[in-house]
Symmetry: D2
Subunit: 278 residues, 4 copies
């Protein structure tokens, strides 16, 4: 008996749940969990089922394809470890949190490498027997620098996600397109507040009483990709922006790890610059 | 076209979603929203669907009964206003919050009466043109007092829920049984911490850094019925227990109103002293 | 024995706490609570003390004036009810929450009137025996409309705060200057995200996972005055913007009432477009 | 110029702030931050000042001793790294979080050793060049086992805090007394709910909608020492107790690290089984 995660998105029409569940039934698949959502505004149907049984992937796919509306998205995956690459700069907290969870067996992931534009974190990462690749941006055009990173990433076959764990350089559209829907970033603010550089300084200057962090997929508009997870904490007048930064780190790491976990468990749909999360 | 809320609980078996959705399909009912949950530990299946179409209630019920396992629970309700009675003692905040929401048209409810063992809130409640019934407990045995309340409640036909909005007297098993699964209480602590009298005092004495409130159905064991909603807030050493009480009121009223809303929208299943909430 | 709240802000220098507390000591005043904060960046010192004893206000003021740096702010107030005017439009929740708290004796305030540009809330407010003044904006220039409101406010002597409880019209600089540092607004978003009109719609379009509300003093730049209090709640993909609006109301009312309470208890300093809150 | 943290607790009387601040002033010490609290119920005064200047510790102590009431507590410490020992069993998350923060230079602490009753975490801890001492409890009486741990701890001179990072064995009164006020524990529930073994299982059985974690000093009554920090998160009916356990880990580690930081920065007073935290 195997488990399968079946993810479907389609234009909504009457009977979709019926049609899909009929097929599960006909293949003698037991539904372990099932989530649906219809976005009335865009008339979009989303469904994620975890089923158990014995079935040929391709056959199930074909059967679903037959009953679902044209242009529907269908994804059938087994719960297996995905390959991820983590990109960082100099800060340890978000990266460290992922490495500890990996060590604890908590993540459905192989960390194939950590890539950074500095070597500061090398000795730390090597403790965990994970390859650390320093690709300095110094004396390089942005394009050149990114080409080297792309090359490094592509030297590993099948990288499912690139996790930006406080990678502090802006990515070009070329990079983003190369790994479309695969790049997860943690932004150190409650987006869309404080887009851009030094959000804690911005937050301090505005005198906010709450700060936050946002994990999102990266698209071509900086800090504007589909949001996966957000979290906030209270601050007071007594916080300098450095204090906010320090306090914010705890939120950043928890939110990024949460988003990564959702991605690894195939729980995220994206559409219209938003996410559906089951 | 009408809407129907269909609530099903059953012993889990393969194909339940398929069977139910087939029936919806055969009656030409469109699924507006659909939630399922299987409790693996007790092998219980729960499903709440909101469907749209034209169908005879009794016919749909029969059709579902036929395909579902024996002893399944099936409930089909139209989204209509339910009748509620609020019981209070002297405090205004939780009661007031419900009255304001009622005034704003936010609740699927008719408030048929407010019953209290004091007359303190009478002039306040009457502003809202809602009957206020004072049933003093003074010089009465507990049984006698409750008999009068039961009588008052039963003078209204079809009371769907009794909401204890800081009603500060203990109810006897007889009362609870008379209105089984219909009584919603707000307890001014994060249950199961601080069961019983003066929980804020208890919380203060224990030196907690968080206080909370718990809305729950009332069963025969005081403060031990199925929990519907909980919320917490931070406190500091600077809070006296009176300060905790004051701060706690904001949590109490929000949690009770939230629980009431869930109940009115038929979103709650109870089983094994717990709730499933869709 | 009386209580006095003493609020001091000054350019920081060595010995301020010593100097102030010496004066309290010399007047035989007992310190009930004491809070200080120094903003290192701007070198500003803030202190709020609640003291108990018998002293002449003017004398204490003079004594403090003598030992404090030039241009220091000194405020000595007794804990007495302040006069407030509430402005609203059509929504009841934020207004209602304040009225209930007022009814419960929870606020150090007299509500002298409610002013609205519609009469929708009139019958509700009148239940509480509070004057309701409808000043319609229809067929009036903005200036004209505001002149009428200013006139209405000024017909009451000594209005300490004007509370915008979802007053949905933009105020001109003239209005804001007339009641400088006296206007408290609730903005239905986590500022500075979603400035301007329909923030819930904006939040929905951005696909956020958290929404919030912000209470702030109003200055000439719309939604950019000093923030007093903020709160956030989680939302999911299943929330339409109407759902966000509904859920947001609970946050709005709690945050506005909290900010109002802080203001009434003289707990807020403002400087450099920020607040210090003790 | 050095910094000093001055912590004072005393029976309250008029003029304490005046007396202490006069002494700071006379020694030409600049107050960087200052917090006071008076517990009216027990008439206790607490004060924590961070001052800057040049002063002899013993002289300052004497000067304070002279003006303060008899039996006052006076503590003067420089902000220096404290020595801590971490005790763990098999779980990595809380331990790992502290090690990462230590690596990031975020903690005012030297981790002198990790002691465990299992060797599971040895290879992990050794990556960080921190001594790992396995003291198995197998085939040992509880007293014998603890004697070995006490011996190990005492082989290091001046251990300021012992941090129980999910150390899953009950400590005897002898152990607790040996390291009085030095042992910080993380309990995996919102105390005082779910005291004792397997709190997540207890929480699941009770059907709670919120779980939490509590960091506290350990005293002789299991899980009943003074609470330092607490945090909660929402759960739903869909959480098994294993899911609660998994989700709870994120809260546990954050709360424990927060409590440790407060302790290292000398921000905690304890009295009457409660804490005052500045």
């Amino acid at each position: 008996m195997s488990q399968y995660r079946v993810l479907i998105d389609a234009n909504d029409e009457k009977g979709l749940v019926h049609k899909v569940s009929s097929i599960f039934y006909s293949y003698d698949l037991n539904i372990l969990s099932n989530s649906e959502f219809v976005d009335r505004q865009s008339n979009k149907f989303f469904m994620r089922s975890v089923v158990e049984g014995n079935v040929d992937n391709t056959e199930l796919f074909k059967a679903l394809r037959e009953v679902l509306p044209e242009h529907s998205g269908i994804k059938i995956v087994k719960p297996e470890k995905k390959n991820i690459i983590i990109m960082a700069t100099k800060e340890i907290h978000a990266l460290g949190d992922i490495l500890i969870r990996h060590e604890a067996g908590e993540l459905e992931a192989n960390i194939v490498a950590v890539i950074s534009n500095y070597d500061n974190l090398e000795s730390f990462v090597k403790k965990f027997d994970i390859p650390y690749i320093t690709i300095s941006h110094q004396r390089l055009e942005r394009q050149e620098h990114e080409s080297k990173i792309i090359e490094a990433v592509q030297s590993y076959k099948e990288v499912d996600f690139i996790v930006l764990a406080k990678y502090m350089r802006i990515l070009t559209p070329r990079f983003v397109e190369t790994f479309e829907n695969k790049i997860i970033n943690i932004h150190h603010s409650f987006l869309p507040a404080f887009i851009g550089a030094n959000p804690y300084k911005q937050a301090y200057d505005r005198g906010v009483k709450i700060i936050g962090a946002t994990a999102h997929f990266v698209n071509n508009n900086l800090d504007e990709g589909p949001i996966i997870a957000q979290e906030t904490i209270h601050v007071t007048h007594a916080y300098s922006w450095k204090d906010m930064q320090r306090a914010g780190r705890d939120v950043e790491k928890v939110v990024l790890s949460k988003a990564l976990k959702l991605a690894l468990e195939d729980r995220i749909f994206t559409y219209a610059n938003r996410t559906v999360i089951f």
